[in-house]
């Protein structure tokens, strides 16, 4: 069983999409949690969805990071509840300090919506257990601020601890500059915390989870979440 909660900020717009994907794939109902609520119900997974929380005004994710519900999300995350931040959700995780670094304006200065290929570098997180290490997957990105930045020390630490989860890569799995859509440092598309329970990524797994949408590589991310929930309960 998977008890998943999706946090809805004003301006979230992939909240329904991720709910649909989770319910279709896992078969378990998903709780939608309003940003003004004081707490998230007990969950095996909290999802911070994509979108433009608070209009993305000032800086993406900055205002959401300070919303009432995030106090509880942060507390629960620190106590071990798995958290997945997708796109705007990743930005919120960085702004709230649950993950290091920041997502800056794309190097092209443009919003980019297209499929990219990614290499899965860490298959021990709560959402990557069902992938193979080094596997190349295709997922869409849709963002104007996905250019991952952190100082060198932080980057080295992330690499050293194996916390880079996804990297923009070509079809052969090479993290080339051409495969990097937004200028992210070291082609970073997604990272995790030291425990592998808090994961943030720019690409949208919920947009390619069934063949009718043009691909299904995102599916295993939610299957991994289900598997992780089952493993921790047995």
């Amino acid at each position: 069983m998977l008890r998943a909660s999706v946090v809805v900020f004003p301006g979230s717009n992939c909240d329904r999409d991720v709910q649909v994907a989770l319910e279709k794939i896992t078969g378990f109902p998903v709780k939608m949690v309003w940003h003004g609520d004081a707490s998230v119900p007990a969950s095996d997974l909290i999802v911070l969805p994509g979108g433009f929380s608070y209009g993305d005004y000032l800086r993406c994710g900055a205002m959401a990071a300070h919303s009432p519900i995030m106090r509880d999300v942060i507390a629960k995350a620190k106590a071990g509840t798995p958290v997945l931040g997708i796109c705007n959700g990743f930005q919120v995780l960085c702004e709230s300090g649950l993950l290091p670094g920041v997502l800056m304006r794309n190097a092209s200065l443009k919003f980019i919506c297209r499929d990219v290929t990614l290499r899965v570098d860490n298959v021990e997180t709560i959402v990557t257990k069902c992938y193979r290490k080094g596997e190349v997957v295709r997922l869409p990105i849709a963002h104007a601020e996905g250019n991952y930045f952190a100082d060198k020390e932080t980057l080295d630490r992330l690499e050293g601890e194996g916390r880079v989860v996804f990297r923009y890569a070509d079809a052969a799995g090479e993290a080339t500059p051409e495969a990097n859509p937004n200028g992210a440092q070291r082609n970073i598309a997604g990272i995790c915390d030291a425990s592998g329970r808090i994961v943030g990524l720019m690409p949208h797994p919920e947009r390619l989870f069934e063949l009718s949408l043009g691909g299904a590589d995102g599916r295993r991310m939610f299957e991994s979440a289900l598997l992780s929930a089952i493993e921790t309960t047995v």
């Binding site: 992939c14 649909v20 433009f52 005004y57 009718s212």
Partner: protein, 581 residues
């Protein structure tokens, strides 16, 4: 201008002219009122009688379009057209121009165009599910073009992406005929249930009139008259205020309105578009056959010292007017408060048959509703038919010597080159139902939770229309039909956006008339009615008009998206077959 200054305002011929009214129109106004108008009343008439709101040059011709069919639930006359998709599903859609504002402030002009058309659609109870845009820019090498393209494209994306409605298609052309007069036409399609469609008739007396959304500021006052007035060299510096859009608020407004619509409390609802409070309140009252009293003291205001004139004419974005069942105000208010939006009771419907506007205890306007709504002049402007040039026969044209080179040159030219760089700046996948992305013949979004698909497309080739308005417009209608068919959809109905130059010139009027005739014939033959549309005239700078541009937006139904067709070649050594003549 404070309120006192306003009442002192004397109405001179210059002021009448500044309001875009001809002397004859002003005489008509005097006759209707039986007295001199107040300044606020003059403003109200000027926007209601503007070309943009009244369709005074086009109305007689638009009446000739076929607008009915067994698939049609609502034709022109409401905020958008409604077409049946079967199983209780309906598509609500419309196209609208934001040409002049986009030339002056490309980002905000285009963004607010997208916002406006989405409001037309969700006003009627639909969740917007697909945005499209038809864009015409000047020559690529014109010094302003790059800046305009950049601004317009990022404005469309900036708004649609934030609201979270996929932008799935459109068209983009470059032609020196648009150097000083670009076109930005935005189309939106939304999905509703046939038993949950909302209209704008304020039927009933003593009903509360509710204002929701953003606060009113001094945005775009005179915008509606500007959209109908020809440009001249001075417009660069005159630069009337353009509105700034707030897509974040629009997103909240959509969610709040849909939440309210799920309850049984709305009698009528309409967005405040061009001519804001004036046209929305007047049209709702007129359709309901009632009078309306507005007390402007209760209008949420962003700025201090706003006058009645300013509030009635403001074009601040992201606002709606709702007529509620009495007693349901607290329930409605709770929803809008939850979404952080303004909510105010600003008046009520009456049995006086008049639109009465009060502000600080003063009556600022007192006008018979039906007259105001229906008294706009209707012009049968002189026109002459455009004679199409002689047909060029293929054998008169020398074949290119290097076919492959010519093909390459054509494919990489601005007319045909890939538009990927545009649609990649739009989120075309949000909502998780885009089953056919941009780049093909038509885009397809799934009817959420079903296997049905809604196919959408927009097309026109102004070059053809310029040569032969009748045939060129037929061609545009038929091209949308073909594009829908090519993805496996049954074409259902169209919306249109008629962009033309100054209708007071008989040849321009001739283009317009020819275009309407062509559209009418094609639609009749195909049982493909026109259910909504928009006319944008006076697209002209210093006497030079744009090429005639009747953009056509078509929608169709794919019965089962698993059996959809697309343009991808699937396998090596498959056969390619050419059909048709």
């Amino acid at each position: 201008m404070d309120a006192k200054a306003e009442s002192r305002f004397e109405i001179t011929p210059e002021i009448v002219a500044e309001h875009g009214l001809t002397p004859a129109e002003y005489q008509r106004l005097l006759k209707i009122l039986g007295r001199e108008p107040s300044f606020t009343e003059l403003g109200i008439f000027s926007v209601m009688w503007s070309e943009h709101c009244s369709y005074k040059s086009s109305r007689v011709w638009l009446r000739t379009l076929p607008t009915t069919g067994k698939q049609v639930i609502q034709g022109p006359g409401e905020n958008a057209g409604v077409v049946d998709l079967g199983d209780g599903d309906a598509v609500i859609f419309k196209m609208e121009s934001h040409n002049h504002p986009s030339y002056i402030e490309p980002y905000q002009g285009a963004a607010t165009g997208v916002g406006g058309i989405m409001r037309d659609v969700f006003t009627m109870g639909a969740r917007p599910v697909a945005n499209l845009n038809a864009l015409r820019f000047g020559a690529p090498e014109h010094p302003k073009t790059r800046h305009l393209v950049d601004g317009v494209v990022s404005g469309i994306g900036g708004y649609g992406n934030c609201v979270g409605v996929p932008t799935v298609g459109g068209e983009t052309n470059f032609d020196k005929g648009y150097n000083n007069n670009i076109l930005v036409n935005a189309m939106c399609a939304g999905l509703a249930r046939t038993d949950k469609i909302f209209y704008s008739a304020a039927k009933g007396v003593g009903l509360p009139v509710i204002y929701v959304g953003s606060k009113t500021g001094r945005d775009g006052i005179h915008g509606a008259t500007m959209a109908s007035a020809e440009f001249d060299d001075k417009s660069d510096e005159k630069r009337p205020t353009v509105q700034v859009g707030d897509p974040f608020t629009e997103k909240l407004l959509i969610e709040a309105c849909l939440e309210l619509m799920a309850k049984d409390v709305i009698i009528a609802i309409q967005d405040m578009g061009a001519a804001g409070l004036t046209s929305s309140s007047c049209e709702m009252a007129d359709k309901g056959g009632v009078g309306i009293h507005l007390d402007l003291d209760h209008v949420p205001q962003r700025e201090t010292g706003m006058t009645a004139y300013e509030m009635m004419l403001s074009e601040s974005q992201e606002r709606m007017l709702i007529i509620l069942k009495p007693g349901s105000e607290p329930e409605a208010e709770a929803i809008f408060k939850k979404w952080g939006l303004d909510f105010a009771v600003v008046g009520e419907t009456t049995d006086t048959g008049r639109m009465i506007v009060t502000h600080r205890g003063q009556v600022e306007a007192d006008i018979p509703v039906t007259t105001l709504a229906n008294s706009a002049p209707v012009y049968e402007r002189p026109w002459y038919p455009i004679t199409p040039p002689k047909m060029i026969l293929p054998e008169w044209v020398p074949a290119p010597n290097a076919i492959l080179e010519t093909l390459k040159a054509m494919m990489s030219g601005p007319a045909l080159a890939s538009r990927r760089w545009i649609w990649e700046q739009y989120d075309h996948m949000v909502m998780g139902d885009t089953v056919q992305r941009p780049g093909g013949d038509a885009a397809v979004v799934r009817v959420h939770g079903t296997q049905k698909g809604l196919a959408v497309v927009c097309d026109v080739t102004p070059r053809y229309v310029a040569a032969d308005p009748v045939m060129g417009t037929k061609q545009a209608v038929v091209e949308t039909w073909r594009n829908l068919t090519a993805v496996g959809a049954d074409p259902l109905a169209i919306t249109d956006n008629m962009n033309f130059a100054n209708p007071e010139r008989p040849e321009v009027m001739g283009q317009f008339v020819g275009s309407v005739k062509g559209m009418a014939e094609a639609c009749r033959v195909l049982d493909y009615p026109v259910v909504s549309g928009n006319v944008s005239l006076y697209n002209e700078t210093n006497g030079v008009g744009i090429p005639p541009t009747p953009a056509i937006g078509g929608v169709g139904l794919v019965p089962d998206v698993s059996r959809m067709a697309d343009i991808k070649l699937k396998r090596d050594s498959d056969l390619l077959i050419l059909v048709g003549r």
